[in-house]
């Protein structure tokens, strides 16, 4: 299961994700993002407690990155080793700004 926590500070929106971001949970995050990005200039994904990320999750991150490229910036932080590896093999390490 995926738990989504959101905090907003001025025009900066932070998503803290924990659990699994996979085929079953990615649509939930996508839906949430769709309605939340208006006027946001800085989007942060905090993956500190995310244990699992599949291509469905990668697609959501890529969609968000594409959108943020037109209206501001996006950063990903607290990426654990296994997820880092997935970012690496898929070339996402070069696309995303990972802290």
């Amino acid at each position: 299961m995926l738990r989504i926590e959101k905090t907003t500070e001025n025009n900066c929106l932070t998503y803290t994700l924990s659990g699994r971001l996979d085929t079953l949970t990615a649509p939930e995050l996508e839906l949430d993002l769709n309605g939340a990005l208006d006027g946001v200039t800085e989007l942060i994904f905090d993956l500190i407690d995310l244990d699992y990320l599949s291509s469905a999750g990668l697609r959501v991150l890529l969609t968000a990155q594409k959108r943020m490229n037109t209206q501001g910036a996006m950063r990903v932080r607290n990426v654990n080793e296994t997820i880092r590896e997935i970012f690496d093999v898929t070339g996402f390490s070069d696309i995303l700004t990972i802290e």
Binding site: D22, T23, L24, D51, Y52, L53, S54, S55, A56, L58, R59, L62, T63, Q65, K66, N69, T82, I86, V89, T90, G91, D94, I95, L96
Partner: protein, 515 residues
């Protein structure tokens, strides 16, 4: 033709006896010599018997008492002439019935003794076989009770066993419902032990042959196509030299001094375990499907308990938490179960009563619908067959994870395989049967020596070779990157090898990974 031998046969009267016997015996008729009243026989008398036996090879000696039996034994006659001993006669009137098996009824004769009375008056051969079976099982490491005497009970025979303070699992389940889980555990453990026991060739009958004879019997009662399919399904079951009990149910497990004992060994056989599961289904559910009272009458616990017991046992036996997996094997077991029930009921005159016809109709219609949707009676503890839909993803993943964890897979490989499985399974769920639905089979094979896992996905959907798909260009920037196309790529990156094959109208995709 039965002839009584009375008194003494020695050199003084041997010639006369022989003359009388020859005069009485008609050619071509089986000769039974009753030795009940025989007091003494000398070697001259034995030679008479031998000559009669030569002229009439089907001659038998019955009611042979201890002393005479010893003489026959010492002189080697036991190997030349079929001999039936005289048996002590007992009555089981008023004795408590402990259980009813396929071939007989078990009575508590006194506190420490049970007697299994056979239904068939000519059961002596069955009794001997059961004794042999029990000895064999014991030697092969199955805890069982061996009969120490054979007795005459009315017109039939019985086997006497010593069972001290024993209670059957049926009784325990009926009286102590809180022991349900313990019973399931022990029931499964014993069955595994039986099914893991390899039996030397030729010692026990082959259950597959028996099942084929059931299918042959049903030819006259099923539509031609269905009868053919049933026969083909059973025929396709490979020979298996592992033991099966043949009538395994909660009445045939006894708890004695903390030890679980298997009894009722006359149906012991070798074969593929689906045959056993079919008969367990019958004992717990099949027999009682129409009349739920049957189970209480035979086992003392109710139909709901029996159903719960069956499901819990099967999941335990298959070592799975997957409902789909349990249901898949249950369907196969029911095919065997119903085949047996329909035949049994017809042979016992079921078609002649209204209730019998209703039961046969119920079992038959279920059998027919199961035959339509089943392509094999084989199952594997390493296979999961499940509807290919996104909702089943977690089940597929946990199925594979359980197998991998059992093989000491590293957490990293576990996570990577989990991902690859998701990509493959979701692909099948989304495209293989679109816009309809269908099943996928997932098989996990582990080579412990090489520390290698092979996970195979099989679907019967549209031909699709994911390996033909071009890899995405991962050097492109975010705005140039396509949203899709990552799944297959990830699958390849996260495993050591991916192989695709299209065979028999099926897509077969194998993921190979070092653990």
């Amino acid at each position: 033709m039965s002839i009584s031998l009375i008194g003494r046969i020695d050199s003084s009267n041997a010639a006369a006896v022989e003359e009388t016997l020859v005069a009485q015996i008609r050619d071509g008729e089986p000769v039974v010599l009753d030795a009940d009243k025989l007091e003494y026989i000398s070697s001259a008398g034995l030679r008479v018997l031998l000559r009669i036996r030569k002229a009439h090879p089907e001659m038998r000696l019955v009611n042979v008492h201890e002393e005479f039996y010893d003489i026959l034994d010492m002189t080697g006659f036991l190997e030349m002439i079929p001999v039936e001993r005289a048996y002590h006669t007992i009555s089981v009137e008023g004795c408590e019935v402990v259980g009813r098996g396929a071939n007989g009824t078990l009575y508590h004769y006194n506190r420490d003794t049970v007697v299994k009375v056979y239904n068939d008056a000519n059961a002596l051969a069955d009794i001997m076989r059961e004794r042999e079976n029990a000895r064999l099982a014991l030697v092969l490491g199955i805890p069982t009770a061996i009969s120490y005497a054979i007795v005459k009970v009315g017109d039939s025979y019985g086997s006497v066993f010593e069972l001290l303070n024993a209670r059957s699992f049926s009784k325990i389940l009926a009286q102590e419902p809180e022991k349900f889980d313990w019973c399931v555990d022990e029931f499964t453990k014993m069955l595994r032990r039986i099914h893991e026991t390899e039996v030397p060739a030729g010692k026990l009958k082959d259950m597959r042959e028996t099942a084929l004879s059931w299918a042959d019997f049903l030819k006259d009662y099923l539509p031609e196509q269905a009868a053919k399919k049933l026969h083909a399904l059973i025929e396709a079951v490979p020979h298996d030299s592992h033991m099966i009990h043949g009538d395994y149910h909660t009445g045939n497990l006894e708890l004695q001094d903390g030890e679980v004992l298997l009894i009722d060994m006359d149906t012991l056989a070798v074969g593929y375990p689906i045959f056993e599961l079919g008969s367990i289904y019958n004992a717990l559910i099949g027999f009682s499907e129409m009349d739920h009272g049957v189970i209480s009458r035979f086992h003392g616990f109710d139909y709901e308990t029996a159903k719960r017991f069956w499901s819990a046992f099967l999941a335990d036996y298959l070592d799975t938490t997957s409902k789909a997996k349990v249901e898949e094997v249950e369907r196969k077991a029911r095919i065997i179960g119903y085949t047996r029930l329909v035949r049994r009921s017809i042979r016992r005159g079921g078609l002649e009563t209204e209730q019998g016809r209703a039961e046969i109709e119920n079992w038959k219609s279920q059998l027919l619908s199961l035959l339509e949707t089943t392509d094999t009676l084989l199952f594997s503890r390493d296979d999961l067959e499940i509807e290919a839909s996104a909702e089943n993803l977690a089940e597929v993943q946990s199925f594979v994870e359980r197998r991998l964890e059992a093989a000491d897979c590293s957490p990293r490989a576990l996570m990577q395989l989990g991902l690859a499985i998701e990509e493959v399974f979701i692909n099948i769920a989304s495209y293989a049967y679109a816009p309809g639905t269908g099943n996928a089979t997932i098989r996990v094979e582990i080579d412990r020596a090489a520390k290698l896992a092979t996970i195979t996905f099989i679907d019967s959907g549209v031909p699709y070779n994911p390996l033909k798909k071009r890899d995405p260009d991962i050097t492109l920037s975010a705005s140039e990157r396509q949203i899709g196309g990552l799944g297959v790529f990830l699958t390849k990156k996260l495993t050591d090898d991916v192989r695709y094959d299209r065979r028999d109208g099926k897509n077969i995709l194998m993921l190979i990974k070092h653990l």
